[in-house]
């Protein structure tokens, strides 16, 4: 029975309009020739040109990308190890504290995480800059990675690993040849999540960075505080475009893999039959 009604259609239409219209408007106005962001003055790509000539923005973008790549990679390694610890290591002394430290950063307000890390860095006399931001981002994003990876590990068939060990693999080989390929999709989405969180973070980066390393969100925030600017619209459009392409590509890849897997299953069934 089809229960999809006019009410459902209306709420979906309005809901998605609410979610997407602000971003559509933002994108449209990035092509506005007028300096006044709320008055349409004809189509132009001039703000993109100005953005690409703005050294300060390019520097900030470069800092942000370096921080994001470094911190998400570190966070993926540490988060995967943390997931293995949570799911595979059974009971050990201090396990409760450990799982507490994994889950607490997920709900900790960013202002508190930022403040506490800054006080630590000052306390041990660490010069603030890219390095300290990487440390800070790694710390909170490894917790997200470990949540993503541990949910995959929890549904994992241990018999596969045992089979590999019975067939003569060392534990390290079994991990590399069996476990890792199976949890790989979760590890990759954990990396992407950590990467996005790092690209996006304003508050923690503001606390933990020094004058030498301004990230893109910090730059955007200080520009936006002065009001709307068409350059920020252009920058936002580029970022939204990259995310949209990335997510659509990822979902197409997933779909393709599902189709291929189904074809393999069918072929196998036919061969058996």
């Amino acid at each position: 029975m089809n229960r999809f009604s006019w009410f459902n259609a209306t709420s979906l239409t309005l809901g998605f309009a609410f979610l997407y219209l602000p971003m559509v408007i933002l994108v449209i106005y990035s092509f506005n020739a007028s300096q006044l962001v709320t008055v349409w003055g004809g189509f132009s790509t001039r703000w993109y040109g100005e953005l690409l000539r703005d050294e300060a923005f390019l520097d900030a973008a470069w800092v942000t990308v370096r921080v994001a790549v470094l911190s998400s990679t570190l966070a993926t390694v540490l988060g995967t190890l943390a997931a293995l610890t949570l799911v595979r290591m059974g009971r050990f002394r201090g396990r409760t504290l450990f799982s507490g430290m994994i889950y607490a950063p997920l709900v900790m307000p960013e202002v508190i995480t930022g403040l506490s890390l800054l006080l630590l860095f000052i306390g041990i006399g660490l010069d603030r800059g890219i390095f300290t931001v990487v440390l800070a981002h790694t710390t909170f994003s490894m917790c997200y990675v470990s949540v993503v990876v541990s949910s995959r590990l929890a549904t994992f068939d241990r018999a596969l690993e045992e089979a590999a060990l019975d067939l003569g693999c060392t534990p390290a080989q079994a991990f590399r040849l069996v476990t890792l390929p199976i949890i790989a999709p979760a590890v990759i989405s954990g990396w992407l999540l950590a990467f996005t969180l790092s690209l996006d973070d304003l508050v923690i980066a503001s606390f933990t960075t020094g004058p030498s390393a301004t990230t893109l969100p910090i730059k955007i925030f200080s520009a936006v505080r002065l009001g709307v600017s068409p350059q920020i619209n252009a920058l936002s459009t580029i970022l939204i475009g990259m995310v949209a392409i990335g997510v659509i590509a990822a979902s197409l890849a997933t779909k393709r893999r599902a189709v291929l897997a189904e074809r393999d299953t069918r072929a196998a069934e036919r061969a058996e039959g």
């Binding site: 089809n2 229960r3 999809f4 459902n8 709420s11 979906l12 809901g15 998605f16 609410f18 979610l19 997407y20 602000p22 971003m23 408007i25 933002l26 106005y29 709320t38 540490l78 988060g79 190890l81 290591m89 450990f98 430290m101 607490a104 950063p105 709900v107 900790m108 307000p109 960013e110 202002v111 508190i112 403040l115 506490s116 890390l117 006080l119 630590l120 306390g123 800070a136 790694t138 710390t139 490894m142 996005t196 690209l199 996006d200 304003l202 508050v203 606390f207 955007i220 936006v224 709307v228 920020i232 619209n233 936002s236 970022l239 939204i240 995310v243 949209a244 990335g246 997510v247 979902s251």
Partner: protein
């Protein structure tokens, strides 16, 4: 040996960069502000042995916490953060539930696309999604011009830089957190239950209240906490969309630290904020556990 390495690496990392910083905040919240680098006293001087530790401990007190209770700025900021988060959560629920419901009722082949459309904004920069509303809500913004062109209002509404704009910002950015858990519970629901209720004489609305709503309650509670908890400590939204009269504790903490440079008070503000958050976090954990048990 290898087991030890797997455990030790993330463990030590979190001890050093999560637990230790937290202990430092606690310690500084008990210290006094000082004109020095770092700007608080006492500092621990281990070179003096036990005497140094004794001096350090005797220098700690609850003065900053007493100060927080005396200046009404702080408790008003805590109360108004909780209130703003609460109201935003209710609005997000009112908007998010029909969306989740519509998604769960859509044809199965459409659901992955709809799901992707809800998740997509989550991958887009939070800052940009908040920024998008500045151009819409400002007094010469798009919303005001559309309303004036339609002769609905004759003077621009002052929405930007007010608490109403903060509601809009929170509802907009946290909507996916509400939709996803509700959709997850509704999607698993068996349609046969609704048919049974209607066969037994319930109206469509009655069937919704008696069957759908109770079954989706776990998702509703989860969604509400996922919006409510982070909204309390929100900084970006009140500082970009809020007005000077919008009090939120995340902003107060930020200003205490960066503008007033009063680290001890900023730390005390952080500690109280955490104490407030413990209640909803514990309730949220309990709800999650109940959900898991129900699903077996």
């Amino acid at each position: 040996m290898r087991r030890l390495a797997v455990i030790a690496l993330p463990y030590l990392w979190l001890l050093a960069l999560f637990l230790v910083p937290f202990v430092i905040v606690l310690k500084i919240s008990l210290s006094d502000i000082a004109v020095a680098i770092p700007p608080y006293t006492p500092t621990l001087d281990l070179s003096e042995g036990w005497a140094g530790i004794r001096d350090f401990l005797s220098g700690l007190d609850f003065e900053n916490f007493v100060f927080l209770t005396q200046d009404d700025l702080y408790w008003r900021a805590y109360l108004s953060s909780v209130w703003i988060a609460f109201v935003s959560t209710l609005i997000t629920l009112a908007i998010g539930y029909p969306i989740a419901y519509g998604m769960a009722r859509a044809a199965p082949e459409w659901r992955p696309t709809l799901l992707m459309l809800v998740i997509l904004p989550f991958w887009t920069s939070f800052l940009i999604r908040v920024y998008a509303w500045i151009g819409i809500l400002s007094s010469d913004g798009i919303l005001n011009r559309v309303l004036m062109d339609l002769w609905i209002i004759d003077a621009p509404l002052q929405i930007l830089n007010s608490t109403n704009a903060v509601y809009v910002g929170i509802v907009y950015t946290y909507l996916p957190f509400m939709v996803l858990p509700i959709y997850a519970t509704l999607e698993k629901m068996d349609d046969a239950l609704l048919e049974a209720a209607e066969d037994l004489g319930a109206s469509r609305l009655g069937a919704f209240w008696l069957v759908t709503w109770p079954l989706s309650r776990g998702g509703v509670v989860a969604g509400c906490f996922l919006v409510f908890i982070p909204a309390i400590g929100e900084f970006v939204i009140p500082s970009l969309l809020g007005g000077s009269d919008t009090l939120m504790i995340g902003k107060v903490l930020w200003e205490e630290f960066f503008s007033n440079r009063d680290w001890p008070v900023a730390s005390a503000v952080a500690i109280i904020l955490l104490l407030i958050l413990i209640v909803p976090i514990v309730l949220f954990q309990r709800n999650e556990q109940k959900q898991r048990e129900r699903e077996g």
